[in-house]
Symmetry: C2
Subunit: 430 residues, 2 copies
């Protein structure tokens, strides 16, 4: 029996919106947004889209009109009453009222600021200008829209059963990963796959499959909307944009050298427990830890997001040991370029030496590799980054020079200030 109202409702949408909620975003974005709203609300920033995979010519694949419709739809969104209630009333990381009333009042009134869109060399130049707390919320939806529109462009040519078989294959592939992960002792794993997901519905499926398949080993999802809808833990802490913008705002080299610690000092005042996670690689992990103030050694753990992950964790373990901390009480979160083999390998290596957790992203929510002719659904490396703050360029070095960003002269200055020497290049997978 056809539900006529549902059918009419479904058909009256002019578009099929990809992002339908302001909380269809990563939890750490909201935490950082609140921190920025409190500490640096008036900073003017520019965020830009960067496609590191030049061979995927997005402007040839995706119709500009369709892209604008999706972005315009996101600008029409505001926080719903139920979403607000969830953010105000839910417990995050064991804490009530994680989001303060003044922040929630602001967020409830928020609409995302305008975007600028142009085409160049087969790519879209998509840029967002404005106040930091507003602009920063564009990152995840902008990425999700481009990833999903690219997918739709490929799916458009496929037959009905061909489509069903495509998803059948993707489900089978994911489930085989789940079955392998079940055998990993003491596994702790969360979904970090919002930004490069194949689609919202697919991410939602993947999260539920992990929940059923891994039970308590699945700790939650970074996606707030899915966490809310599926009654799961929302997971995430902080990201590179904080030290990048704080550093760009520094007036001189001395202030620049302090900036990454200022970020964590602000964070320290706001958060405790499992939210006190160091992200050390923005300007080189080794130097960052060597110069870190002692109070940072008390933090719960560290997130390894570039470079060789085992080496990063070994560096952290040595640092804790040198500072008299017991690494077995500390948490290492791996979140860069993970797939099952790497998760198994890192679990084995650090078992009993440190607490380990995984933030699994692209290869969880977008592993369509090998499922279409010409691999036209394979994920690619799209990012959306703060490139300017109060008129100054931002810089990121990371532990992998291929992930470095910023003007060459500024990169050299940052390398000098942060004492970054030779680095090993690693392929950026996704």
């Amino acid at each position: 029996m056809v539900d006529i109202a549902t059918r009419v409702w479904n058909h009256k949408w002019k578009i099929d919106p990809i992002v339908r909620s302001l909380i269809d975003t990563d939890f750490y974005k909201l935490l950082m947004c609140q921190s920025v709203f409190r500490n640096r609300p008036d900073t003017d920033v520019t965020f830009s889209l960067i496609n590191r995979t030049k061979s995927v010519r997005l402007a040839d694949l995706i119709d500009e009109g369709e892209l604008r419709e999706q972005l315009d739809h996101i600008r029409s969104l505001s926080l719903s009453r139920g979403e607000s209630t969830w953010m105000r009333g839910n417990t995050f990381y064991g804490k009530r009222q994680m989001f303060r009333p003044d922040f929630m009042d602001w967020f409830e009134a928020l609409r995302l600021p305008p975007y600028e869109l142009a085409k160049k060399d087969g790519q879209y130049e998509l840029t967002f200008h404005g106040k930091w707390p507003e602009v920063m919320l564009w990152e995840i939806p902008a990425l999700a829209v481009l990833m999903e529109l690219r997918g739709r462009a490929v799916l458009r040519d496929m037959g009905r059963f061909e489509l069903q078989v495509l998803y059948a294959r993707a489900m089978t592939k994911l489930w085989e990963k789940v079955e392998r992960l079940r055998a990993v002792p003491g596994l702790r794993l969360a979904d970090f796959g919002t930004r490069r997901r194949h689609s919202f519905l697919w991410q939602d499926w993947c999260v539920q499959a992990l929940h059923e398949g891994l039970g308590d080993s699945f700790t939650g999802t970074s996606n707030c909307l899915i966490a809310k809808n599926r009654d799961l833990e929302a997971i995430g802490t902080n990201a590179h944009e904080l030290p990048m913008v704080y550093s760009a705002l520094a007036e001189d080299d001395a202030a620049l050298a302090r900036a990454p610690y200022d970020v964590l000092s602000d964070w320290h005042e706001e958060h405790d427990g499992n939210l006190r996670i160091i992200l050390p690689d923005t300007y080189g992990t080794k130097g960052f830890l060597d110069r870190a103030p002692d109070w940072l050694t008390q933090w719960t753990g560290i997130r390894i997001d570039s470079g060789d992950p085992a080496e990063g964790a070994e560096t952290a373990i040595r640092w804790w040991q040198e500072r008299g901390e017991d690494p077995r009480a500390k948490l290492v979160i791996f979140s860069d370029g993970l797939d099952v083999g790497k998760i198994e390998e890192l679990s084995r290596r650090f078992d009993g030496r440190v607490r380990v957790s995984f933030g699994w992203g692209t290869m969880l929510t977008n592993d369509f590799i090998g499922l279409t002719e010409g691999d036209r659904l394979a994920p690619f490396s799209l990012v959306c980054k703060a490139v300017e703050a109060n008129g100054r360029p931002t810089v990121k070095l990371s532990d992998n020079p291929r992930k470095a960003m910023g003007p060459a002269a500024e990169i050299e200055r940052y390398k000098r200030v942060f004492g970054v020497g030779a680095q090993v290049e690693r392929e950026v997978v996704v």
Copy 2:
């Protein structure tokens, strides 16, 4: 949005009926039923269920109460108005009014006769007695009910996502077969998988997948309900029960020797074109063809349903040549134990020598092999056969002694009458 009426409707069923229509059966059953209704309506017959795969202990797996509910539900079914309209108004094998008004009047009033059910050695003894045209219609629904109840017993222990992945894997497996079959030049293939299907919904999916994936190479389905719902050709001709019952009714050896030809003589009066398909193996293909009257060589083709299929087809080709017929104008339908490899092999071998068509059964609609632990969903060899007619036992020899049926003394008599010598044993796959 939940459609409340649909939800209430779905929940008010006391059971989830497996067979929901009297035309959820093979097309050839209806053709044969009409023939029996016309030529031998008063024959008393007994049909019995036989599970050749003793290791699948159906009575341990399937609750007797559930089985009775399903069988009782089938007894409550009658032909719906839409079904009757389709049978009366549709074109079958290019012909209008395939089903005569007197037959349709009878069929519209039909309810299936009672069944007898007992348990023995871990198996169900399921038996149907009554007039031939009524009892014969139990065969396909009885098989479908037992196959699907066995599947449900296995599925009951599985999680929601585990289930979805199970079907994802089955879909992937089928689609890989479709992709291989696309490469077979001049392929003609129909679904013959009703009786041993995993489930009705799964057969329905498989048929639609073949339709999309193979295009015109997919010629239709033996399942009348699916043919009607999906607007496809209903496919099928006749089966062993006709010669088996005709033979059991023969008064002496001379009449017995004539009986299989009497069947085809009756058929000859009713049908022409692609419905004139010889099924020669009931009492040995070689002898049947050697003794066949000349008018049979004019028939359109032959169906190979036991023994080595290539050998069966070669025997038919030689027979046509000996009788002065051009095999390239004749049709060979393979319908026994097919899977993709065998289809490819037979297509290659007979390409250009004879017209070839495939009736693909169990490995189309029930290939869940390897998809569960302990292979608890693998298909098994269940049949429902006429075992008695007017108080006399039926006999089947076939071209594979493992498929032989009937009392030993009668088997010997039939072998003598039909001049069947040594036969090669072949494993009965499904």
